[in-house]
Structures are given as C-alpha cells and as structure tokens.
Amino acid sequence: METTTILSYAAYISLGILTVSLIFPFIRLFKGPSVPDRVLALDQISLIIVAIMLVDIILSTELVFVDIVLVISFILTLGAMIISKFLFKYEKK
C-alpha cells in the first residue's frame, strides 16, 4: 500500500486520459438534439467523475474516499432516474 514510481506514472496518464474523455459528453450536452440526449450526457459525466475519484484514491493513498465514491455514485445515478421520471410524467399529460 504505497505509491511507487511506475504506479504514479500510470495514475497520472490515466487521469489525463479520463480528463480528455470528459470533453465529449460536454459537446453532446451542448448540442444534443433532444432532452434525453442531454440527460444521458449528464449520466456519462457523473460516471467519468466517479472513475477520476477512483484513480485519485490510488494516487493519494487515502482509503477514506471509498465511502465518498459510494455515496456519490448512488446519488448521481439516482439523479438521472429522477430526471427521466419527471420527464415521463411531463410528457404523459
């Protein structure tokens, strides 16, 4: 349980890849043709943020952050469900 040199290089490279991959859902969020496209892009952004936090646990060796990842993944995925339920009720009437 100690971050060696190889491991910190790999963690920095994967943080860079994840940060670059955060750009594409933002483009879809701005130019999405319909509302479900935008909700889907928000879901993708939240999943990538959870992945970034998982890499950051390895980089900083603070195992307390696993609790925070649990709560944030639960809340953000529930948020997409709640938005789509509201949209369904709005479209039904």
Partner: protein, 98 residues
Amino acid sequence: MIELLIAFLLLTGSLVAFVGAMGILRFRNLFSRMHAVTNVTSFSILLLLAALNLFALDWIVFIKSIIIFFVLINLSPMASFMLAKVSKQMDNNRANRE
C-alpha cells in the same frame, strides 16, 4: 510485479472510458448512445475497482467496492430504460400532433 498489474488495469480502464466517451459523440441515434454509456463506462468502473482492490488489499475496501459495483450495475440500466421510455413517449406525442 503486482504494480505492473495495477498499472495495466488503470490504463485499460481509462482507455475503455475514453472509447465509451467517444461513442456518445459518434453514434447516430439515442439508443446506440445509451448502449455506449451503460455498457462501456460500467466496465471501466469495474476495471478501476479491481485495480483499487489489488492496491489496497483490505476487506472493508473489498466489501465497499462490491456495493459500489452492484449499485452501478443495477441503477444505470434502470436509468437508461426510463430514458428509452421517455424518448418513445416523446415520439408518440410528436406523431399524434401531426
């Protein structure tokens, strides 16, 4: 030796997340974009959780990461199913209006 395995899992997980993020921009309609988000990004979270468990080697972290993975693998398809229902309802409303 285990560091190389952890580094391989980290790089593979982030590359899989990159492929899934390109899928949401390149695919043509909503349902294939839903496939890209739900399958690919959950798989990258699984790989990163495996790397974290090999790094920590702790029982509490193992149990918590099992809970995280089950929450994600159950709630993400539910969200995409409800979004598909919303999209179908919007199409029906548009067809009724015309």
